[in-house]
Symmetry: D3
């Protein structure tokens, strides 16, 4: 039916084209430039031996994340947070979400006393920047861990990763539940939900927000169905990208 077609012609359950350019950065231990349609995020993973002082001596590692948007990633230029002199609530919230999502698939004991900092910098924004960030960050994380193993910072048989992780935004626009909302859809959504899912299909985060009218349990279930489907596609793509030989 034409009325279920979206602005860009997608069906409700269809994601935008997703691409992952692994190893984009020549400097970082792991990196990925990920696109969900026009949304482009550069994810880097920086590995350093040692942990912050408050963790020292406990035999566990640390994974954290920082998210930021370039000032002109958006349709209207935003002021830089460095110029404002403080980080806004939304930035804090997303940085914390990315960090929690990655730590959910990390065995910090197996990581040893090492730190990985993930940076997700949005070069271009068209909705779904946080879910693209998580999905791309996982690829960067894997490569940083492999780099550390190759350098001898991790034992050969250490398994710090317990699963993979990917994320997708779903929402109710008009009366239709849709996957991977573009900006124009997101701004009209009644309900907006970000779902973070492991490769084995369990939930890491479910964050549903009524932007307009509150939502019912049936709507919640419909959104979760969509999210699990799209997350499985992203998991598949991550596996394919990581199966390729990494460039030196």
């Amino acid at each position: 039916m034409t009325d279920t077609l979206r602005t860009d012609g997608r069906t409700p359950a269809q994601m935008r084209p997703v691409t992952i350019e692994r190893g984009w950065s020549a400097q970082a231990e792991g990196s990925a430039l990920i696109s969900f349609g026009n949304t482009k995020v550069l994810c880097t993973a920086s590995f350093t031996p040692g942990v912050p002082r408050w963790l020292s001596g406990k035999g566990t590692g640390w994974v954290t994340a920082e998210y930021s948007m370039l000032p002109r990633s958006t349709n209207e230029r935003m002021q830089r947070e460095s110029v404002k002199g403080k980080i806004g609530g939304r930035t804090h919230e997303i940085s914390r979400l990315i960090g929690r999502s990655l730590r959910a698939v990390i065995d910090t004991k197996a990581l040893g006393e090492n730190t990985i900092v993930i940076d997700c910098d949005v070069l271009q924004a068209d909705g779904g920047t946080r879910t693209a960030s998580i999905t791309g960050a996982y690829v960067a994380l894997v490569d940083a861990i492999e780099w550390a193993r190759a350098q001898g910072h991790l034992p050969r048989n250490a398994k710090p990763l317990t699963d993979s992780v990917a994320a997708v935004s779903v929402g109710i626009v008009g009366d239709t539940a849709m996957s991977d909302l573009a900006y124009v859809e997101d701004s009209r959504a009644e309900t907006d939900m970000n779902v973070v899912v492991t490769g084995s299909g369990a939930f890491v985060e479910v964050q549903g927000t009524a932007e307009g009218v509150p939502f019912s349990r049936d709507e919640l279930n419909e959104l979760l169905d969509l999210a699990l489907g799209s997350a499985a596609e992203l998991t598949e793509l991550q596996r394919a990208v990581l199966a390729e030989e990494r460039a030196a």
Copy 2:
């Protein structure tokens, strides 16, 4: 079964004693001192005619919220955010959540060009500070709106409130789903979920986070069942408190 009893003897679905001291503040247009067990939050609602400049002339009102903890509300003293010179991510996140939750039951057109600022200051913390804040803030909000109506800032027949709103934290501790986690339970929880529900039983926010292992769809459903039950109790209490004559 004894093994389903909690530290303080509650059953899994049982909330801690909840009290709401309406009109605690002599200064604010609306206020409530709410307790969920040892958690105590002072909620005030400040009504001012007019809206921020970016909303001016649109005929709609504005409701926003700020959350903060006293430095010694917790077991170990925390540094004040005013002394640090910046607001942390957690504070930002909770302030935004409270604001969104209240706006979900506000018809900003019916509020007219007026602003209500909700302050939720945690005097004592023992888990569930954000859900107590939302639940208490609703009571303060109702009284501030009634004050404004009595002062003539709102038409006599304006109905800015479309529903009531309350919130509860639920989680999986050990293998048991429990409602209204105290701090000691929250810190051992595998999964932690904050659920904001309207008086008519629809969802405003569902924020579930795997702190340990990812959670399954069955677990998600069990937690939502618990949350809806407790929210209904809170809705009942709000109604009872608001049904009393307000002190001058």
Copy 3:
């Protein structure tokens, strides 16, 4: 004479009703919720073994204080200092005054290398917040020291307290010298003076300020007489409150 009666019917030398709710906080080592009429301040004392680095190894302890007002403690909501990103001059000034006043009755050698941080958070403001803070903080301080002794952080016979301390604001309103100014009086005062006095009647601080016309030596003396009288009443109340058995 009726013209010496004040707005609330007090005589010039009469304080508002003063109450001290000792041990209000379940978390802090010492605490007191003090009221001077409608002014309500929550004072907590946080004891921690050890001292800041610059004092380390000198065998002396440290007592410091922080003062803050809740945003809606006042008649019109104030912006939070954490949101402004900096602490105002008035806050700094009062925090320093409280700290100096308490240190005047502390023998830091006898305290040993331990730190006590006093937090005075104004829940409701109606004049005299700084003098209520000092008076309540002393009670919290005593309990924190007793807690530390009971825990073995202080020798059984250590006497870190050399005296008690209390404070009162006095001022000239119209042509009348008055004690314990309420906000409406304070805002009309020609001269405003905060006086901090030990239990034995000596001065710790005398801060007199001409808000309107400068004041004469006779007026200064009249104000000091009033202050010493009210301080003696506060000292009496502190003793009575501290003489009670402390709740577990």
Copy 4:
């Protein structure tokens, strides 16, 4: 008696040599470089027509002050407050004291809707920087007002100044009450008092602090006697300096 002589040979009531270099700055509307012994403060008064927005339309003027120390005005270099990114409590406190002291001799109605900002920058510090600042700032203030009158910003017969103002620090060192404490005396003082006095001998501010043991009423009176004597000398010097023809 030799034991009443001070480090630099002064008697207890004797001030250090005080000099006022009026009109030091080629840029400011009024200025004075004042010395109390080795303490040197550059005071400038900046006159601008108009008042801050919150005063606009009330027909009254505004006088405010800012105090600061050069990083190497002191014996050990201090970090700049601009580098720290925030102003310390002591700086705030002194800036507020200077502003209040000057406003005590200003009729803001007679000043009209004009603003005068006083800057007191300590070039070299050896005790008494706040009292030297107030004393020098008064001279700068007089010249800025005369400048404004000459420029036609004030009516020819306006009298914004109601009196002169000067300040001195006094204290008890050992058992002796002394006037105009140098740094080495101030750091050993049991009690330290800053007294701001008008030309006609009334008090604007009395700020006495027990640094060591609390002080008695007799000691307070002895200090006030000393302060009034020294303030009268400063008043005399201000008059002499202002009686001279001002350089173009």
Copy 5:
């Protein structure tokens, strides 16, 4: 001679491969992703009608620039300036340099009361980030002006651009003057010079700094010769890129 060859085999006067990807951003009015070897900078130009208040009503436009590095653009991760809460001296200095360089080829009268903000975000850094920024920013600036003309924000015949501008870093490494220093060369340079040159070969900025030993006038001249040669190559490339049809 082999000893004049550089790490990457270049001759002293030879630049690294330079590429300009015009119109990289789907959001900005003008944009270019420029590479000088491994140095990659995303330059965007944001056009908005109107000027800052201090310029309003003067009939002239405003062009300004902000420079920033992604935290992992460098070999070791740097802390974000937004996290530090302040912008460092180097960032300020380069932002100002880029702004001045572009304004040197702008006729602000012809630009009318419009503002263009240039953002130069370094995605990957290997020396020469400020000179690559200026060179790329010029391309983005041209496209933003053409966009504004097409949208009717500028008269059809307005000529806000008076020339083109490009920049190159030159330096003395060992005893050899070299063009377009890579990071490893820059860190060993005795003298480092950034030169900004118009398309017609005049100087906009010459910033030479002795990192090791001071430099002679002959060395200065040798460096300027190199810089003019490389700048001419960059001017040629800018022309070629801008001569292409712009993608919709």
Copy 6:
């Protein structure tokens, strides 16, 4: 020709009267109050044994500088950077320039693990504040080093200074190249250049900026000729001042 005379009657190559009051500060290890006409800068050098942590154990010293302007050093009062809570780009840029200029004549190995901080505080500004700062700072630096040698912090035969350093601003005003621009000239200059030169006539910094039209190589050469001439005069004055016996 009269048309080459400047506002104050100087010839193009003529500097304003330059005076250096060595040892102005009673507190600092080295100091100089330098005047270039009405521009007056207080330069102090603070010597402390030891180095910042990042340099520790490398056997080399550290010299750094901070520049600041008093708020009323200028014709219109500027807001303090401490009040703004951040340091502006211009201040950063000049502080860095002064530091680099001094380090260019320092052998940090010969300085040993010691730190010298130079503070340049502009008391009065009339153009050329950065060049006066560098020229005066060198004198303060020499005295701080001699002080350290006398105190035994440096070996008797250590030679941390490799040369002297001085600076001058030159520019093209109208069509004439001029030395030591006063503020009124600087604000009309087409090209402005700050040149830092060693006592032996080599360049430390050359910073030329086209404020209006870009400048040619001939103009650049004419400006460098002027700068070298004036710098030689400053070098001569520095030698004369330093040849005098230093006051105790």
